[in-house]
Symmetry: C4
Subunit: 212 residues, 4 copies
């Protein structure tokens, strides 16, 4: 924080990264509150716990998603050389959707096996993943357009590749939302598949010029 | 933290900023717990989720408010050159009201559509926004009066402008509380309008003398 | 963290302070969850909210207590020159009681007006404040005895004064527990009085020798 | 964070440690939410609170376990010289199980005295402790195998001793799971015994070569 100049409107990204990290860490840890233990004494605890499997599935999926976003957030903020008011607001919008994830997670965990509502549940979950992906894309487009905020030494091809990748995510999650309406299994399958894909190691940034 | 001198009673602001950031990040992420999913199996999940729209509205409004306070907190603490016991207590009072926000948010989300209680709900929410605004003003007045704790190079006119701005917020939120009692729609409208206003970029501080 | 030597068993206090700060910030912000909004549609929201006043009272009292402990924790950890395994465990015990505070806070808020249980509620709350005070004293006695971990330049009289002050708190909270059993009003009064006392500014440390 | 090079895929461990610390601090503080106060006005509060003793027991046990993991996490990450994508994912898996602990803690606290379910409850709790221990072992084996990520100056015998210790934990927790199925008291006894064992101070790392 000491590096930022009080006289400027564009500043370093340390502050915003620390705040975002806090929100990531809290949102990821709050997910466990979505698994509601049934409070029925003298019932069969074991079968109750086993019947909660959709909630465990939703917990793991959302936990991994938030963990991946956390890692990627550091990754792209390292490519940003500064931040400004608009990027702060776009980041706040993104965090709003990250902090919102416990709700679709609860919906999926509770209604995945409920025949009357499983289509709604999967669609809502896919929508819950589309929202942070879309605000992420906005954040990236704003920062990278005309090298507004990113490291100017980054190779144009590398920047374009990231743009395509983030755009692709938005397209695929939009697809997952629509397909969920037809068959919730396929919609959820796309969500799981994308999560597994994101577990692959990220490519190193390519710089067109040497660091001095 | 290493810069603070154990022998003094006035210290740097790093500690208090880090603690405040923690409270901001947690309060903003806890807001999602205010959206209570109805636990009715075999009911229509979609219509239940759509009927929760006042809770989503309250979530977004409070999320943005806490996000704005977080940004402004960093902004004015950068103008403070040190902190003392009284400012620490005033900041604690402010955080008490920030951490309290999930309650009026829950009230608004749950009772906005309840004809018998919507006036109360909107008034309580406006009051929930007035309290942090009022303690913020107190904090600023204490720190800026006679340049007690602020950077002495700040231009007097700039300091006065901030005082007027913070005073104006308190007056407008007080108005929102009173108007809510007459028509809750207008009261809420003022709250939303003020939030949109705060999304505008802050003015850069004006220094009367150069930094050496 | 970079200063700590991997080869030693006694280390700097940065790590333990950062972790403790996290627990303080989370515990203080979780207190709001103890105020349970009654979920009765079409009831009188205003009178429901007003009847929650014991919960607001308990919220404010516990919030201020945790805030004071946070400030004092930084204060005494600045007097410690290093930490060791035993101090880490004593600090963990102290944090266990801080993180426990939401429970007695909920008890007080919910049962203060319940004639059959108000004595129990106040006694449990006083006990909830005694436990962190007692573990705090243990931590201080361990660290200060024979200047084990504290700054050796601290004046003996200053160290003795802190010991007496922390011992006094334990005695007074023990008194509050016992007196609550006889008259809960007096027991709570001691708890409130001690909190107000702790709001007074702390004395600056006195060093017997100059810092070089 | 400033030390990490944007051009590399292996980086320092500061980021991952800060995020993990956040999850530890939140998970440990959320444990209190597992103790559910019975909301029965005009009942006997004292006896209700006393009957919650299994919940207090589970709270203390899980609090101490997470506290120990926090300390050990810092301990082994100080032995790591860098991190890579695979270690980040293994650490995320470990955190997933740490953040999951509130659920088995709630199960143990609520069903320990329920004759029909106490065997299940203790087994689930032992399983809840086995999962982080197993992912911890995985993390260590990955990082230490062929000195992939650990400090190369660490003595081979010291590394082997840690491997055996972490393997031993996994074996003992597996034993606790199985024995719980036969007699839940013995299974829980192993869990408590291991926790007490972990409270012993860790051995200092042994370096085969001097630090320059």
């Amino acid at each position: 924080m000491s590096q930022s100049q009080p006289g400027g409107t564009e500043r370093g990204t340390e502050r915003i990264e620390a705040f975002s990290d806090g929100v990531f860490a809290i949102a990821i840890t709050l997910l466990i509150l979505d698994i509601k233990l049934p409070h029925l004494k003298n019932s069969d605890l074991l079968s109750s716990l086993l019947q909660l499997w959709p909630a465990y599935f939703a917990y793991v999926l959302s936990f991994v998603m938030i963990g991946i976003y956390w890692a990627n957030h550091h990754y792209i903020f390292k490519l940003f050389q500064k931040t400004n008011h608009a990027l702060n607001l776009l980041n706040l919008l993104f965090l709003l959707f990250i902090a919102f994830l416990p709700l679709p997670t609860e919906v999926l965990g509770e209604y995945l096996l409920d025949k009357a509502n499983q289509t709604t549940a999967a669609t809502v979950y896919a929508l819950g993943l589309l929202l942070p992906a879309a605000s992420w894309l906005l954040m990236w487009l704003y920062a990278s357009r005309g090298q507004r905020l990113i490291d100017r030494r980054l190779e144009a091809g590398y920047v374009r590749r990231l743009t395509l990748q983030y755009l692709g995510s938005v397209v695929l999650y939009s697809g997952a939302v629509i397909i969920s309406l037809i068959d919730f299994r396929w919609g959820l399958g796309i969500c799981v598949g994308l999560t597994l894909l994101y577990l692959l190691p990220p490519k190193s940034p390519v710089f067109s010029r040497e660091e001095r």
